[in-house]
């Protein structure tokens, strides 16, 4: 369970939001929407543990977590704006490196299967430099599958994905929630989830604490 209490964020001298709170149970998703510049990325980075909130507390399973805390690092899979790929490494190598970095181990067969499920098998040996934006995103999706983390934090995950890719993402999130995971996503597009499982957070308006 992911909880936030009285969160506030500042950028420089300007306040982005304050008094924010929510509670997301296992199997549920939190969808964050709002105009540009209202702090969606900032909020997601706080939940991932990259950034400290100006005020307030974040709790995972009841324990307060600070930025970069070991607990969060074992639990979070963060997909930010940038695809986190090295141009010089091939698709396969990028995926293997990211999976190993998250402490998971994946056999060659599992990597094959993951690349297959995101329709990148035919591109496995190409350097990431030559991939399209959508294909780079798909590597990120493969990484999410293989990292086996309970908390997914996705910043604009649908960016650059085509219809098939978006559908794949929606399916993945659905399965993840079914397994008891939690997903927090900043996105404009619907992920096709049952409304009962989705909490909505709209930034840029006053939010009840």
């Amino acid at each position: 369970m992911l909880e936030a209490q009285n969160l506030a964020a500042r950028r420089g001298y300007a306040e982005l939001f304050s008094g924010m709170g929510f509670r997301v149970k296992s199997g549920d998703a939190l969808v964050v929407t709002g105009p540009n510049g209202t702090g969606k990325t900032t909020l997601l980075r706080m939940l991932a543990g990259l950034s400290a909130p100006a005020e307030g507390e974040i709790r995972w399973n009841g324990h307060p977590v600070r930025p970069f805390s070991a607990e969060l690092r074992n639990v979070v899979a963060y997909a930010g704006h940038l695809p986190s790929l090295k141009d010089e490494l091939t698709t396969e190598e990028n995926l293997a490196a990211l999976v190993e970095l998250s402490g998971a181990s994946a056999s060659a067969a599992e990597i094959d299967r993951a690349l297959d499920s995101v329709a990148l098998s035919h591109r496995r040996a190409l350097p990431a430099r030559v991939l399209s934006a959508g294909q780079r995103r798909r590597i990120g999706l493969a990484r999410l599958i293989l990292s086996r983390r309970p908390l997914w934090i996705l910043d604009e995950p649908v960016t650059a994905l085509d219809a098939a890719g978006a559908a794949l993402l929606a399916r993945m999130v659905h399965d993840h929630l079914d397994r008891g995971g939690i997903a927090v996503a900043a996105t404009h597009q619907s992920l096709g989830l049952e409304p009962a499982r989705v909490q909505s957070l709209v930034l840029g308006e006053t939010v009840p604490a």
Binding site: R11, G12, Y13, E15, A52
Partner: protein, 251 residues
């Protein structure tokens, strides 16, 4: 006592405290400077070897001591800023750096002026001067880093890391330069003889305390300005008479 410190650690509560302290330290500095200069220029005798020129040590030595002392204090507040994340600690490091740099510059400049009549040159590669110059670079680096990082929180913490790394290195740098100097038998600067006249020593000590009080007063004044700037959106700042009375500020 512990309770008092924590109450003081917010910018809002420290601001008026700093305001009351400044006149005392400024006044103290003025009085001590007068006494120190009187001792240094009026009472202390002419030096056997160097004549009247040596009297510059009454400014040179206190500024050099302060330059090193302020660096350590700055690193201390930096460590607090990193450890406890309090805004005031970060603001203190921001307030100290320029004064530290100034003290270093004064030490270098007066040292150079002293060098000209004494060794015939404005610069000598002795251990103290050289490591003082490097200390100036360290200070300027911290100031430059703060300027380059716009965001105040990141700047506080980055400058804290840098000042802590620096504080570990300053003794190493000093020692290494001293080593280098003795190896090359460079010009060795001696203060006026092995033992100093009591009045000279007294003058130097008084001036050191005077410089110290001055530094405290100036740092606190700068700190107040920094608090106003960084807390400008807070309600208590808007309510201050000095802020409300500024022309053009909406009531």
């Amino acid at each position: 006592m512990a309770l008092n410190w924590f109450k003081l650690s917010s910018p809002a509560s420290f601001y008026p405290v700093a305001g009351t302290l400044i006149p005392w330290f400024a006044g103290g500095a003025a009085v001590l400077t007068a006494i120190g200069l009187w001792l240094g220029f009026g009472v202390a005798p002419t030096d056997f070897q160097q004549g009247e020129v040596y009297r510059i040590i009454f400014i040179h030595v206190p500024s050099a001591w302060l330059s090193m002392f302020l660096y350590v204090v700055m690193a201390f507040w930096g460590a607090l800023a990193l450890g406890f994340g309090t805004r005031l600690s970060g603001m203190m490091t921001q307030a100290i750096a320029p004064t530290g740099a100034l003290m270093t510059f004064i030490a270098l400049w007066t040292g150079s002026l002293w060098g000209r009549p004494t060794w015939g040159t404005y610069w000598a590669w002795d251990a103290r001067m050289t490591s003082e110059l490097i200390l100036l670079f360290l200070y300027l680096g911290i100031i430059a880093l703060r300027q380059a990082i716009g965001e105040p929180r990141r700047a506080d913490r980055a400058c804290a890391v840098l000042s802590i790394v620096g504080v570990v290195n300053v003794p190493i740098i000093y020692y290494s330069v001293k080593w280098w100097n003795t190896l090359h038998q460079g010009a060795s600067v001696k203060l006026t003889g092995a033992s100093m006249e009591t009045t000279m020593l007294a003058g130097m000590l008084v001036m050191s305390v005077a410089f110290w009080f001055y530094s405290i007063a100036i740092v606190l004044a700068r700190l107040r300005a920094i608090i106003l700037e960084r807390e400008r959106d807070a309600a208590w700042v808007g309510a201050l008479p000095e802020v409300r009375n500024v022309a053009g500020v909406a009531r």
